[in-house]
Subunit: 406 residues, 2 copies
């Protein structure tokens, strides 16, 4: 039975993860798979944008000098030729926005300033400056210019520019392959079938963090069975062992890691998540011991395994939630020496209050919370009126949208 | 050639969309597909949680009254029996956290207070209160209780509770089926092959907004070809026509909609996006006319088609970006009468400045921007020192994480 007295802080754990869970090598993907991936090297424009001189408006392409002085009181006649033919002196050609600029033309007269003339000719009733309605080659971006720097996660808006600038393939950081071994609950005296909450929960979290769930299965909780699963987990970038991390007689996860690999620590000053641990395979792959109770499993994942997966995938290693600065509307009491995650709900007017903690409510705390706060291990709770970062559970700060139209 | 003088405001367009693009009917899905979907009705707990009285810690299950008065100076002996057998008077059974509470026991003595006795018996060195270390059936959540109300988008944390509470299927709003018809560029005089930026960009945006791209193809830009595509777009929930929305001779999109369906408006007081329009099929399906230039296509999508897709999928109809309150570090000049989207970059200290606008830089504006501001149509720009909502391009306000450890 390991002593629970030696618990390391989440800061120490995070520092170990940041030193040992290094970003993976790049791989090449096509643009169709790019959204959500992280650039491993800068993306450059492959072509000039635009790639030729072109019209930026619909209108009549002319030589600006030919229509100098045109006005409603001094309409100037222009001979219209089909686009693509040589522009004669005092000639013009109709173009649409994005069409190539006809040779010899240097300005576009907007359609509003073009009137049908009497004999099939057209009259210009407003002069235009050279370059009006024209976009020169490479005026938006020149071939070789940097579009996005390494480390950027590609979002839909970025994709538009990448396509427009001729990218077809990108070097992105490989997605971490994650193995999840869920230790079969021992069942105890009840023999009751226990629903596996952790498997589906971890799958969703790993995918959220950009990981690939390469394997996720139940494993017997005996030491040899755990050791065998670890030995067979080749080609994995992160290994997660769930359950069997506590001090009970059937809790063999830590001992199995220590016997077959390296156990770095066991016991985390995080509530929920106290019995979490961390190890390393002989190949250097981080192994995380997550507690079996789902709320503890969740928070140990968020601070340990999730951090490693985010970091190996070259993402920001921090918790992937938007934060808002809010004020405690009621006090919350917590124990000194443990970083405590406390579910909270909005009280209005940028104030929050704690709801039933995970220790009492388990995951059900989520049914009535809007977010959570992190109470640092050096504090005995939060006094009423304290300003804190409240992490918004939905990952986006959507609430802010409701009071503005768009 | 439609008049560009009659442009409707984005507020009027949004109001039309909110009245006419109604949320779709529900469908039933399994939990494995639930992340990212929107609940069409409240999700209820299908079972009590926990579903039986159970241990919440590892330890020795006892009758609390049997160990009343135990202390280090007054150890009380307990006869340990296997879990699952009847607890004799002054008896106990070892259990792990989450095991069923042995019949007749009502408290768990933590392992730290259990010592091996001389003759195979065990000594308790600290009394525990009734209920210590015990979680009663339904103490977290009772069968039938509401877990999440209708309209909630399911996030990974929610999934954990849904699994734990016995949900297997959920009623969620059906994903809108979207058809995208990209009008083939007319080519003009150049005959140069034009890269289709809009197709990949719209695919990514529609998926971001929870839509299903049911069809996305190039269509000839003649009126009959557009009309035929619209006529064949059965079973669609939103139809998007891209290109051909301008005043040029080959711009037939609006006329084709007017000829075969209903054209509600053409011309939007939005820059970029001025030539956007909106119609409705005989079956009541909204049809959006998006301009061909990619930056204009993007913003017309965000304010028109995207709003309809988000609304039909029962999502928040607003722009799906986090916002931050920031101060203009330099002035930005815009035209009165047009809502203008202006790309901006961070200057530090919660200040922003405009970068080259979309009219000049096209999508390349995204290469050097961190977000954008919306300059309302009633304003002629933004004075230095003005406080504005800056929309963060990456959809999440991740920057806030960088200064805090987790």
């Amino acid at each position: 039975v390991p002593s629970s007295a030696v618990r390391i802080s989440i800061d120490t754990a995070a520092a170990w993860i940041d030193r040992n869970a290094l970003p993976l090598a790049p791989e090449i993907i096509t643009l169709a798979d790019a959204v959500g991936r992280v650039l491993a090297s800068a993306a450059e424009a492959m072509i000039d944008l635009p790639s030729f001189d072109r019209a930026s408006i619909d209108g009549l392409a002319v030589r600006a000098e030919d229509v100098a002085g045109a006005s409603a009181y001094n309409p100037l006649s222009v001979q219209v030729v089909p686009a693509g033919t040589a522009l004669p002196p005092q000639g013009g050609a109709f173009v649409d926005a994005a069409d190539a600029l006809p040779a010899a033309s240097d300005a576009i007269v907007p359609l509003a300033y073009v009137e049908d003339g009497a004999t099939g000719s057209h009259a210009i009733i407003e002069a235009v400056a050279t370059g009006h309605g024209v976009e020169r080659r490479a005026s938006q971006i020149a071939r070789g210019a940097t579009l996005f720097t390494a480390g950027r996660e590609i979002h839909p808006h970025d994709l538009g520019l990448l396509v427009a600038a001729g990218s077809e393939r990108l070097a992105v950081t490989r997605r971490p392959r994650v193995a999840c071994y869920i230790l079969r609950p021992s069942g105890g005296s009840s023999g009751a079938a226990v629903r596996d909450t952790n498997g589906p929960l971890l799958r969703a979290l790993i995918e959220r963090d950009g990981g690939l769930v390469a394997e996720c299965r139940l494993v017997d909780r005996s030491g040899p069975a755990v050791g065998e699963a670890l030995a067979r987990a080749v080609d994995m970038d992160v290994i997660v062992l769930v359950g069997g991390s506590g001090p009970g007689a059937n809790d063999n996860a830590a001992a199995a890691v220590a016997a077959t690999n390296e156990l770095v620590f066991h016991g985390l000053a995080l509530r929920p998540g106290e019995t979490a641990g961390l190890g390393r395979s002989s190949g250097g792959v981080p192994i995380f011991l997550l507690p079996g109770p789902p709320a503890s499993c969740l928070w140990a994942y968020e601070f340990l395994a999730g951090r490693a997966i985010r970091r190996r995938g070259a993402r920001h290693p921090g918790l992937p939630f938007a934060m808002r600065r809010m004020t405690a509307g009621r006090k919350i009491v917590s124990d000194i020496g443990m970083t405590e995650i406390w579910p909270v709900r909005d009280m209005g007017q940028d104030r929050f209050e704690g709801v039933a903690p995970f220790a009492e409510a388990g995951l059900a705390a989520f049914a009535c919370s809007d977010g959570f706060v992190i109470i640092p291990e050096g504090r005995e709770g939060i006094a009423q009126g304290t300003e804190m970062h409240v992490y918004r559970r939905d990952g986006r700060d959507r609430d802010r949208h409701t009071d503005t139209m768009p």
